[in-house]
């Protein structure tokens, strides 16, 4: 069975971290784009097809929570997994209330991250599928009317 790679956008201001994790994810067969700030994340999202954003909460300038709000406003179908270096899970929980799929504490366990990525991808695929079906029904109805 050929696995379809998850299209991931990895956002963190810690460049070495972004580099290493993206290499690891790519090596595992995922398709990774990177961004080093909230602003860059939004720009990349506008140009690239993405399934899941892995988003660091603590970033200078536009932080993860602000970025998450923007993502959910502009690209509601994109799933977001929050990364927090901080033990206060409160912010992460707040993020989930704002529509994030889940969160992980840094340094994250790779199996755990993979499982969450799969879950997020599945959720997005199902939503995409429902939209396709709804569109098909819409087309059918329109066609019937003609």
């Amino acid at each position: 069975m050929i696995e379809i790679p998850t299209r991931i956008l990895l956002v963190d201001d810690e460049k070495d971290f972004v580099e290493m994790l993206s290499m690891r994810l790519t090596e595992s067969g995922e398709q990774v784009t990177v961004a080093y700030s909230g602003q860059e994340c939004l720009e990349k999202l506008a140009r690239t097809e993405v399934d899941v954003v892995i988003l660091d909460i603590k970033m200078p300038g536009m932080d993860g929570i602000q970025t998450l709000r923007e993502i959910k406003g502009m690209f509601p179908l994109v799933e977001v997994i929050l990364l927090t270096g901080h033990g206060t899970t409160e912010t992460a929980v707040k993020g989930m209330k704002l529509g994030a799929f889940d969160y992980l504490l840094k340094p994250a366990d790779f199996e755990n991250l993979s499982a969450k990525l799969q879950g997020a991808k599945k959720k997005k695929d199902e939503q995409d599928e429902r939209i396709r079906q709804a569109e098909a029904r819409l087309l059918l109805r329109k066609g019937g009317n003609i």
Binding site: E14, D16, F17, M20, L21, M23, R24, E27, S28, G85, H86, G87, T88, T89, E90, L105, K106, P107, A108, F110
Partner: protein, 384 residues
């Protein structure tokens, strides 16, 4: 000072003039004072040694040990005891000398009885006041010390959490780099790489060290987590039984038996079960680590209307006296490297503090340790 209070005063009368002394002894006794008497300085000191006095009435002129010398002895050994000097007629010089040596006051013979009684009362009052002042000062010093300790722990906690946070980022990079390398080594193109196993082994070491560091940083960050507690009605005995299931295997590996008991009138209390569970896990885990093969651990719940007490006792190696002060500090551990983070008791104490409780330790090296957590009972209907 009310007349009935006189019977609290323990008085010692020292005078070599028998008639004079006997008369005073009787009259003071009639007024309710607890009076003892001696006819010499040496005799008086012997009586004081047997039982201290509040006030000593002391004649200056005596054969053998004289008044001034006796006074110095008394003040050296029983500084709290007040001394009233009796001087001969028109020898005020002795009286002044006496006050300089620490006497409360002096009276010149012949004395008026009521006057002496007044002086005794005043001396006793001074002694009582001094005693209260001393206790107050000791109490204040103790509280201050506790506050310093608490503040120090709090600032250490904040600092430690800050450090943990900063370390998590580089730790994440190491983690991903090691993970990436181990992924590469599994590739077919590297199957024939020389010394591949050495690389794998080293990378595995890096990964497990990162895991160990992560446990520490996450635990540290967790200790300052401002999570809102969720209160519920909790049966402590049941909660303890359930929690012990979590550590059961570790205890079984060392053939340690865990007993559970309860006393008083245990009733469900209103508390955050997660925090109590955390306390219990930390204490029991410590007990298991400290206890040798085939040791015993007892988890006891005691309850009264105001508070509930969790006691975890073990037959382990005990805590040396010099470590008693340190065991609640972050990163203090007597476990081998990698086995203890030195945060268990630190976190436990923070939780207990938050719950408004106290934690007490009793330990004897080679005999065992008993940790006692006293938690206030809260009633959801009464609490504000």
């Amino acid at each position: 000072m009310a007349e009935e209070d006189l019977n609290h005063i323990r008085l010692l009368l020292i005078d070599d003039e028998d008639n004079f002394r006997q008369t005073l002894f009787k009259r003071l006794g009639k007024r309710g004072l607890q009076v003892r008497q001696a006819d010499s300085g040496e005799g008086g000191l012997a009586l004081l040694k047997a039982e201290p006095a509040d006030v000593v009435v002391l004649d200056v002129k005596m054969p053998g040990l004289d008044g001034i010398e006796a006074l110095r002895w008394i003040k050296a050994q029983w500084p709290q005891t007040e001394v009233i000097f009796l001087t001969g007629h028109s020898t005020t010089q002795d009286g002044v000398e006496g006050i300089k040596s620490g006497a409360f006051d002096y009276l010149s013979k012949p004395i008026e009885f009521e006057h002496l009684l007044e002086k005794i009362k005043h001396a006793y009052q001074k002694k009582t006041r001094d005693e209260e002042r001393r206790q107050e000062a000791a109490y204040k010093a103790r509280i201050e010390q506790q506050m310093i300790a608490t503040e120090r722990l709090a600032s250490m906690g904040t600092l430690a959490a800050g450090v943990a946070h900063e370390i998590n980022n580089p730790l994440a990079i190491i983690n991903e780099a090691a993970g990436y390398l181990s992924l590469l080594l599994k590739k077919e193109e590297l199957a024939a790489m020389p010394r591949r196993q050495d690389f794998e082994k080293a990378i595995e070491k890096i990964s497990s060290a990162v895991k160990r560091a992560r446990v520490i940083t996450h635990q540290l960050l967790g200790s300052v987590r401002k999570q809102e507690p969720v209160f519920a009605e909790v049966d402590l005995y049941e909660l303890a039984a359930e929690t012990l299931q979590l550590v059961h295997k570790e205890a079984a590996n060392k053939e340690i038996r865990i007993y559970q008991s309860q006393g008083g009138n245990p009733a469900p209390i209103w508390i955050d079960p997660n925090q109590v569970r955390q306390i219990l896990i930390n204490l029991v885990t410590n007990a298991i680590h400290a206890t040798g093969k085939e040791g015993k651990i007892e988890v006891r719940i005691e309850a009264d209307p105001e508070s509930s007490t969790l006691i975890v006792s073990d037959t382990g190696k005990g805590i040396p006296k010099e470590n008693m002060e340190k065991i609640f500090e972050p990163f203090f551990s007597d476990k081998p490297p990698g086995e203890g983070t030195g945060l268990g008791l630190f976190v436990t104490r923070q939780i207990v503090d938050k719950l408004g409780g106290t934690i007490e330790v009793q330990s004897r090296v080679g005999v065992g340790t008993s940790m006692k957590v006293i938690l206030p009972n809260r009633n959801p209907l009464k609490s504000t």
